[in-house]
Symmetry: C2
Subunit: 401 residues, 2 copies
């Protein structure tokens, strides 16, 4: 198949390009390289060194004896995306090219507006370009489990059949996102569902859990082929951040009670699932939603898992509760479905302990890079629109208990 | 109260300013005057002459012995909206300042992107500005009944309590909008609900039906104080378009079967309802949804109503079915609630026949202005992204029947 990756320079995009190429697909990708700028802007850096795009592409060619067709460009630039899709004529488009951070979107008005502009209008451009030059292609769109929020009922995959006042219908499951970033993904979902309905486009909308990890099988040892691994408050996801904290002896930063329950999955599962979606397209006009995660855990459970894995490697790790900079439920019901991917052959990696040890080992040589940016491990971007560094609240919490 | 109207030069904004001022409120308003440009762009013009903003403001002053504090500016310009709200310190903000046309948003990529950019980011700017300079103000936000689409169950006001797999929750009612314009309103609703939750803002989100009519009581006879009345395929709503067609002897243009059922309300009811919302603010942090319409009718029923009202005035009117340029259900269930406004004292105008006669009489002196733009009465903007003028399909339909 011919697969186009929007956001090919990112945490998921670059490993996905390697995995798809290893499976014999022809891959092209576009990226504006903005993720590198954003991480820099918030004072972070990738724990694992990220090479210049030219070096990445050269290493890719050496390993795969195949080109990764790359063009630098912005999805807000309609002629750019239209021209690239027209030239490449993809069978599938995997859209990973959005600003992915909740805290970044909450910094201030400018960041909130940038996030929704970049994400919603970029996706809208891809939909219009598909209609114009590749209407039979399959859009695999990266959304987030965070679109659903934390309802007090089970979370189906996108749609649910309900009875209301004696009548029945199958309706989109309501969305209650928790940041302007998460809302941008909700807006994308609406626009994408609508484009499938009116233009007969086909799309798989991925409600993905929180990804962690440093490795996929197809990656090889060339450092130029490694994916990035961020640990700052904006672009570092929970487990990645915990592991980076663990290797430099910084306390793991639980926000509030730590009872927030989320779906999580290792990087290798994310790549596996995206590939399954690509290789099993829906029919024309079909808009389907996949919930994509390995298992649900509380953030506190994960902190203990990281602590145990670190202990195996001789690292002593402490865990502290910090006052929560976000506005979210800290204890809640969470029971999402994830049958669609399993039905198509997804085999979840159940050994999180082993995965965490791989990560910690991968990160230990880069301790110094994490130490250099120690300041960005404790959050200060608050959901009320202000900036204040979170403080340890273990004592207040134990007083409450 | 001090009321700020975003979009004060529009069809609803200018009469609302008059009505609120007549009730003793201090009113300020902002507008970029874009509606005038858009109608011009699509080849239309207001059937009722619209005076320059300076003349409108002068007439306003003469009639009300009060100023309408006006600044020209764009809601995408954050310093503009922040500065104006900070200076005026409103108790309520009525946000009518969005691009309001479904067909306009469907013309092409550029119009779809413009619509969502203008509407979603403009509203987001207002939310951030409120947080910064008037967090206790009440945002009365104009949405549309079209956000809900046409589900096969009753439509509650924004939220519904459901039982799903044995558990209960009160959730936002799912949205299934029918154009990129309608989706922009859905996106606004999500962002606004979220801002209330995290910042304690208060908002009434108005899911309004289709407005028609030329008059409100407070308007007076000065032609400079009249509101606009569009009849083109983009900015002319169904009944307004039918009445303009009736007075020049053009057939009424039913799209498809004409069984599309919508909530409708006269201009005077819209102004009454918006005023009720303004004068009965929610509590801090509350996000409430009002469904705002007088009654539901099929578009075909309305065409017959216009035909009968026109007959009373000696006008002979024909009705034709045109092939539907939109992609929508032409026969469907539609039973929305509208209790919240009734509970607060909304008295619906039930005499649609009388209202239509007023409209037709108001429009008859402007026949020539409608005749000049006769070409924009039959739609050619199609939901598949192409342009093709709709044709009369009465024969095909009767063959089917």
């Amino acid at each position: 198949m011919r697969v186009f990756i929007a956001g090919v320079d990112g945490y998921l995009g670059f490993p996905l390009a390697q995995h798809l190429t290893a499976r014999g697909h022809a891959v092209a990708g576009a990226d504006m390289l903005l993720r590198r700028q954003w991480v820099d802007e918030v004072g972070g850096q990738s724990a694992i060194p990220v090479y210049a795009i030219e070096e990445r592409l050269e290493a890719f060619r050496e390993r795969n004896t195949a080109n990764l067709t790359f063009r630098k460009g912005d999805f807000l630039d309609y002629p750019f995306i239209l021209g690239f899709l027209n030239d490449f004529q993809p069978d599938a488009i995997v859209h990973l090219g959005e600003m992915p951070s909740a805290p970044y979107s909450m910094i201030d008005q400018a960041h909130a507006v940038f996030t929704q502009k970049n994400n919603v209008l970029g996706n809208l451009n891809i939909l219009w370009a598909m209609r114009e030059v590749c209407p039979n292609a399959h859009l695999v769109k990266l959304g987030t489990m965070g679109e659903y929020g934390t309802p007090n009922v089970d979370i189906p995959e996108g749609f649910f059949e309900i009875e209301y006042r004696g009548r029945k219908d199958t309706l989109p499951f309501p969305r209650q996102a928790g940041s302007f970033y998460h809302w941008s993904k909700v807006h994308d979902s609406g626009n994408t569902m609508f484009a499938c309905r009116i233009w007969g486009l086909r799309s798989t909308d991925i409600m993905q859990g929180v990804v962690f990890g440093t490795q996929i099988d197809a990656m090889g040892d060339d450092p130029r082929l490694r994916s990035r691994l961020d640990f700052d408050q904006c672009f570092g996801t929970a487990i990645n951040r915990f592991c980076c904290q663990a290797v430099i002896g910084h306390p793991l930063t639980l926000y509030g009670l730590g009872g927030q329950t989320r779906g999580f999955l290792p990087l290798r599962d994310s790549i596996q699932c995206l590939t399954i979606a690509v290789e099993n397209p829906p029919t024309a006009g079909e808009y389907r939603v996949f919930n994509q995660f390995e298992e649900c855990y509380t953030v506190e459970e994960l902190a203990y898992k990281v602590q145990r894995a670190a202990a195996d490697l001789g690292l002593s790790v402490t865990i502290h509760h910090y006052d929560n900079p976000r506005k979210e439920q800290e204890r809640h019901y969470m029971n999402p479905d994830r049958n669609h991917l399993i039905d198509l052959g997804y085999k979840p990696t159940h050994d999180v302990h082993a995965e965490l040890k791989i990560m910690l080992k991968d990160l230990m040589p880069h301790r110094e890079r994490i130490e250099q940016k120690r300041d960005v491990l404790v959050p200060d971007i608050r959901w009320d629109g202000t900036r204040r560094r979170s403080e340890i609240i273990d004592e207040q919490l134990s007083a409450v208990k």
